[in-house]
Symmetry: D2
Subunit: 377 residues, 4 copies
């Protein structure tokens, strides 16, 4: 590791985990972080195997996050930052313990399992010396950032309508449901599809457009028999500025892979981005042209440039998007760009709003009516 | 004209009209119809010029539809069928007069200007000897019909979710609003975006999926100041079988051209079609493949084959889609395939449902709540 | 038919013919021509059936082109123009007879079966009062014309390289070869793939770029055993201005439909067009953007506008492209735009060059060396 | 670093280098290698800065590759492997010195600057105990490997035609030519476009198809005035089995980014892959469908699975492709899969053929004739 590398611990990433390994690769891609400690799943034996695979010294593979925090605090070369990639149920406990111990926190979305936990976490972050970053991975794509910067600069005029769509098909049949923690309210929290991918779509809509949702009207469904959480989620939304948004998300869209897309229609132009073709931002202005802006374009915004490692025409993907968030967190941690947090890099603000989105969507669906984003049940 | 040609009159298609000229081209493309009479706009001089351009004898260019019906009735070689391509306000009067006079009717969507007119027209059609066909043009595309046939045959299992999206940008600014009859409630009827393109999306969803919408929850907006009708329309819907649908339509999606698309997610597969690439039907079944079925595939359904004139790889477009509807109407008129009407070719059933959709969407939006498709205000 | 309609006869279009029916539809689409006579295949009974289907009076369905020319010459309302959509072997005889009889000629490509016939036809056209138009259908697409106009205007600077690619797969196996006239040298002429689709690619390259090929180096193959003509054709070419071109065409590209595409790389930009998505012209200028210019864009060139009937977002296809050529021929025939012939509308110049291309490609391939486009064997 | 990490040194990757940094990221992505030594450019001060940035201890940043080999040989924890990412001129010297010192070599393409050097290197590799891997990065993409495995298994029948196309535009104008080592014969070697990207296209064609080129006919050009090496390269080729191939490559294709693509047409199917959409392999079989096979499909071949880290729908790009080569090299080095070298991972065989391709293309172009791949000038 470089002298300049920031030492991190990972909680999560056990066998079968999807996102833990991505955090590891992303953290190290640009050489800014070194993974030196962790808890890699709940089974100690498997955790040690995984930890060794990833080059973590055996004495820094801990039984749980509490031991990890204590153990690392006693070392001169203890970690500065903890990465949380566990099921949602434990996000709050790990994050709050780590923050109280003076560690920085990088947590995978959603912020917590419940809205109440999220509301409790906000003052803990505020009271801590640490940075709290939430990895909504799609915010690490260059062209998502370019879209955000362009809209903020007025490039498409007043935002009138957002259409954000997130179809996945991996839960279109019920076989194996019992093994999937995302389907268990005790582990996933209050939202199913809404909480797993609806929050991505919601956060992306607010992140890119710069608008805030004021009220929403949701239709949630459990299409596969026996599910206790929603597996399909559709929401009409109104925005602060009078604009509107429509969010469609699904885990039962058979055969779809990970087809997140967003279109923002402004008074003078439209921006469109699709995760399946992430290096392109489509811009339409009503002049008979669609402009495809490529990642790496020489006049990209600074945030897009920070998210681009390679010359145009060399695809960068999901790991790189996550790595870009890590790179920004490194700059924030080292004090060179603290303003990135809760700016380009989502933090408690986006986190809390996302949790409220889930809560409001469930309430709206239950009562079949429009519900304010601010209203309490 | 061929001996077998069916003689038609066109009401509409004056200077500046978009759809009238398409009806003319489509009717004649396959040689099944001959345009021999008409009223080509409200200005008699301009009507004569347009009629002559189109090869209509001067004595069969009439002042209005009443004169046309009377004049043609007096001829041995009078028309058998009237095509209505006027603003919505006159659809009801022309259709009902023509049907009562024993003429067949081909009418551009929407059926009428109001739901009440549509309800009045249904028994008039039933009592007439004539055929009543409604040109929802998108139903003439081969791959739309292929999708419909596949879903009816169970190819993707039970329908769970429909996402239908129809962005247009031509009304994204208000310049010229005064010249556009679609923005005038007196001429367009009760719906703006909902009535002009929302009905296309609604009809397509029901047509392709074979499902019926039972209730809906709409958010309509007039984004451009001064408009009395909606220019943006978004609707959550529930289906007879417990499935759901989301419809997004807009005339203020700046820079969008005519981007109608639909995805139907079934329990065992997904079908997706986009008007910008109409010769392709995408099929996903969750096996890591997307199958692109091309118009003209040797094992296409009969309805798709009837809608395909050219070998694979030779694009057919909007005029051909309309022409396919005309071809089917010809078969129905000549008695060789009467069942096509209210089947592959939309008629009063789809027409009435579409009008009810507009009415229900307006009511739902006004009250901010779910509304049954059957409920009267 | 309109007073203004031009009366035409069609030779070809018998049962099983692909292109004949397209000529009929295209000729009538814009109401500028009326099909009133013809020879619809070599079997008189079948010819009458087809002719009646298409509304041609029984007494104007002739046994062969000679009878047709004589018969029509004796009528007051005789045809002004003959359309040739027969196998290549008879193109020369019909065209030269018709021209000598004072008729205009619209002939499907290629010009003739042999280079010698093409060279003989040139002075016959010159000596006639008639117009001679050759339907290279792809020249009727709006965005092909837009590309041509832009390059002529210097929009991408000096042309440096052309890549034109035409894969088809319909002859990838040999079953049914005996029934296909295109595979029979006696009927098709000297070229197989080179003559059937290679000429399209060659003509498109010269048409769009404004450059002329000076020499070429060809590799022709017959991949399927037993074929006497080439079914695969690849050619390196040099251009007048020092630029280069590469042409790849194939009839054995299994599963390909009709995937003609062209890219022209100029000193300051690239234009790209694909037949599978014909309403889009891609423009790249090296600034990190790809501009997709849509057919119907308000600032399209006049030739593209003449080739566009519908608003943006309403697909037009192969029939419309052919119809655009007919529309231009009508303007040329009526004297309002004679310069279109051998300009936007290919005539003897492009026809003769295309025949020479086939001849030179065969010679080059035989000798395995570069061959001048001017050189005689 | 993990106990299992392989220690590597990097020569190259100085400021302004494109590929050096990618080697670093790729080597470390999967945690199999640790970069612990290097020569990061020819300027010692800059090399130290870069080395420290990348976490290399100051005492292992060397002045040149000779010092590095000596220095590392004296350490207990010396590197096992050297990565060569310098301009082509020094590939031979570094590789041969390293191999003789018992190090493994991972070298960026092309193998050497001249064919003679390549021929000298072959026996050096054979005589060494080391592994020699050549990073033709595109071979690391999952769907390139899937295509190769499918063709080898007969999935598209006998290969008849390959069309490989590699347009880039970054050299379309001559500004800055003096700073670009790739344009300097003394540093780049004998090929310009042919040597820089033509070899990629050539290697990809042979790699995917399993065929060997037997003879070729090349047209090379220097389109921008003053260049001594070709900047555009087009080649007709014949294959061992009687099939044909066409290769087009360009560095003056204005505005193109890095648009490598390949189509292989077999007797019973076509495979197509495009670098701009690398996670998709298109398969056409002539049944009216195009099958899009997605990276991560459950029944992918083992080589494609090894090249896929993430679930379907999560893009992986250029860095991951390179990382996959590194992962395979690690398995080969550790003896678990030695057969990957000169198999899935290109080695001296592909390297030598690529150098011969450049040499033969130059000879063929000079003489304007077909040239055997085996023939010496």
């Amino acid at each position: 590791m470089s002298d300049a590398s920031i030492r991190i611990a990972l909680v999560g990433g056990g066998v079968g985990s999807f996102i833990g390994g991505i955090h590891r690769m992303a953290a190290q891609l640009d050489g800014r972080f070194a993974l030196v400690a962790g808890v890699f799943g709940r089974d100690p034996a498997k955790s040690r195997v995984r930890g060794r695979e990833w080059g973590v010294p055996i004495d820094r593979i801990y039984a749980d996050h509490s031991e990890l925090i204590i153990g690392e605090a006693q070392r001169q070369d203890g970690v500065a930052c903890i990465v949380i990639a566990t099921p949602n149920e434990s996000h709050f406990a790990i994050a709050s313990d780590a923050l109280r111990a003076g560690l920085h926190v990088i947590c995978d979305k959603p912020m917590t399992a419940t809205l109440e936990q999220a509301e409790l976490l906000v003052p803990i972050v505020a009271a801590s010396r640490g940075i709290y970053a939430l990895t909504f991975t799609y915010t690490g794509y260059a062209m998502v950032r370019e879209a955000r910067a362009r809209i903020a600069a007025g490039d498409i005029g007043e935002v009138r309508k957002i259409v954000v769509d997130y179809p996945q098909g991996w839960l279109s049949n019920g076989a194996g449901d019992a093994q999937i923690w995302r389907l268990d309210p005790a582990r996933a929290g209050l939202g199913g599809c809404a909480g797993d991918i609806g929050v991505h779509a919601f956060q992306l809509a607010e992140y890119v457009s710069g608008q805030r949702v004021t009220e929403l009207n949701a239709m949630l469904s459990s299409m596969v028999a026996g599910r206790r959480l929603d597996d399909d989620c559709n929401v009409l939304m109104r925005l602060t500025n009078g604009g509107v948004a429509v969010l469609t998300a699904s885990q039962i869209a058979t055969g779809e892979r990970n087809g997140l897309s967003i279109r923002v229609h402004g008074a003078s132009g439209t921006l469109a981005w699709r995760h399946e073709d992430p290096a392109v931002l489509r811009i339409d202005r009503g002049n008979g042209r669609s402009e495809l802006l490529h990642a790496g374009a020489p006049d990209s915004c600074p945030a897009a440039k920070r998210a681009t490692r390679l010359p145009m025409g060399h695809p960068e993907g999901f790991i790189e998007a996550m790595a870009t968030i890590y790179r920004d967190v490194a700059d924030a941690l080292l004090g060179t760009a603290p303003s990135l947090i809760d700016g380009e890099v989502p933090g408690v603000t986006d986190g809390l709003r996302s949790m409220r989105f889930i809560d409001r969507a469930i309430v709206s669906n239950r009562h079949g009516r429009w519900t304010s984003m601010e209203e309490r049940p």
